[in-house]
Amino acid sequence: MSLIEIRKITKTFGGLVALKDIDMTVEAGEIHGLIGPNGAGKTTLFNVLSGNYKASSGSFVFDGQEVIHLRNDERVGLGIVRTFQNIRLFTSMTVLDNVKLGFHRRTSANWLTSILNTEKVRREERFVEEQSLDLLCKLGLQAVAQEEAKNLSYGDQRRLEIARALAMKPRLLLLDEPAAGLNESEVKTLMERIQAIRTMGITVILVEHDMSLLMSVSDQITVLAHGQKIAEGTPQEVQVNPRVIAEYLGKGA
């Protein structure tokens, strides 16, 4: 049984069919590339998988469990975590708090214990603080931990988003164009980072327009166009697929 089984996912907006009968299988520990021209429906598929959008129809089995009717936040509890194409940080909160929020599902303080500030809550809070700082160090953000997130540079914001996602202890990580707006060296470290993430046992689905990045890290690739799957296979297979070249890669390939 694969970790992720997506069957016949369809998503419509009014009359617009953004996704039509998408099937996709992802094995545990895999890095799965998802490509396609602008407007192909990649982000929409992410939204459906993460629970931001309700699928019009179809099924999403995660680790043997049907999760298609679960809410977004409930799926996070199962380890389905995403980043956003248009970065969405908690802009008026500090960098540290942004990462701490990643621990939300992994901690248990409730309204009452928060107010009582019990020993357990304090212990938990210390744990979150340590772990968050640790994560920030790993991503090289420790110096800006007390800055408001909106004051970060674009590259730092991207890294913070990944730090927050990792704090959620994902089993499946959906990365939506993480390299967008990064310079070459940043892209290079990102690539290493994605590989490191894989070694942590996290399955990744990666949407990326940066082909050098995508082709080198992906085990499998699915290609969408106009809301439909037009190809899938290894990077080598996909790169020479004439339909993919025509629809996406362009004749220059």
């Binding site: 977004n72 996070v76 809550v121």
Partner: protein, 325 residues
């Protein structure tokens, strides 16, 4: 500000306030401070919705009224002791707040504001119309003074000390909450609902929770008010009251609980202090609101840390330039 510093400033403030009766013995001053204390609780609790969670609720006075009437009825009709009525009115108000929250949260932005305004009017009009329950337009007089474990509170000074304890407790509760996991989740919801959901935060659960806690304290404030004036009537809980609480929050700084206390204090004291201006008093009140929002958009208290931060930043930039050069 660091939590430790907040706590030490808080304790210093409470000690100073608690010492007031040693210095002055003036019923009127106690009365004004007592009213400020009630409004501090109201402003802090509404600030949790408005400032921390980003819910534009304009019906807080309705919950204040529900608390007041509940407590009045529990003591007058069921002859419950004050302590029981006080706690129960908080709980009952919170339950109603919870009930209102579920549908209300479908509304966004100004629609939520208008919906809650409508709710406020409905509650006031029901208080006028449901004579058999609420005493109708004449209200419910003769509410007993609080009796806490055998000690009867009836002097303005005693009321003042009691509300001081309650307001300080409220402040601590909300301040603790907001710096905890729960509070962080609320702030995240205010910043970006979609990102918050994607961080695993149950939006409805937290919003309803915020409504529940906020209305719980509004109910407590209402109960205290009822037993303080020993009289409740529908006039006390109209939209004007909701607007006044809103103004206190804005004056002190949206999302800032210390600010809410300061705002409540200022907007209770300023109109009292300007009583001698007679008809011009309302003008002063209006101008206070307009000018504060224009000049200090982040409030009297919010302004201070921001100003300091700006200076700190300027300093840091100057340093950076030096290093480069």
């Amino acid at each position: 500000m660091r939590p430790q510093r907040v706590t030490s400033i808080l304790w210093a403030a409470v000690i100073v306030l608690a010492a007031i009766p040693l210095i002055v013995d003036d019923q009127y001053i106690f009365h004004v401070l007592t009213m400020a204390g009630i409004y501090a609780i109201l402003a802090i609790s509404l600030n949790l919705l408005l400032g921390s969670t980003g819910l534009f609720s304009l019906g807080h006075a309705a919950f204040y009224g529900i608390g007041a009437y509940t407590s009045a009825l529990l003591t007058l009709r069921l002859e419950l002791p004050f302590v029981a009525a006080f706690v129960l009115s908080g709980i009952i108000t919170a339950l109603i707040g919870r009930l209102v929250a579920y549908p209300a949260l479908r509304l966004k932005g100004i629609f939520l504001a208008i919906g809650t305004m409508g709710f406020n009017e409905i509650v006031r009009l029901l208080a006028i119309n449901l004579d058999w329950l609420t005493g109708g337009p004449a209200g419910l007089p003769g509410i007993p003074s609080p009796e806490i474990f055998g000690v009867v509170i009836s002097q303005p000074r005693d009321y003042y000390l009691l509300i001081l304890v309650l307001a300080a407790a409220t402040y601590i509760v909300f301040q603790r909450l907001i710096s905890s996991r729960t509070g962080r989740a609320l702030l995240a919801i205010r910043d970006d609902e979609i990102a918050a959901r994607s961080a695993g935060i149950d939006l409805t659960g937290y919003k309803v929770g915020a409504f529940t806690l906020s209305t719980f304290f509004a109910g407590l404030a209402g109960s205290f008010f009822a037993h303080y004036l020993t009289y409740v009537s529908p006039d006390n809980f109209g939209l004007n009251e909701s607007f006044a609480i809103l103004a206190m929050i804005a004056l002190g700084g949206i999302g800032n609980f210390t600010g809410s206390v300061v705002g409540a204090f200022l907007l209770v004291v300023i109109p009292e202090a300007f009583r001698f201006l007679q008809e011009y008093r309302e003008l002063i009140y209006g101008f206070t609101i307009v000018i504060t929002v224009l000049v200090l958009p982040s409030g009297v208290v919010g302004w201070y840390p921001r100003f300091m931060r700006r200076r700190k930043m300027a300093g840091r930039q100057a340093l950076a330039v030096k290093e480069e050069g």
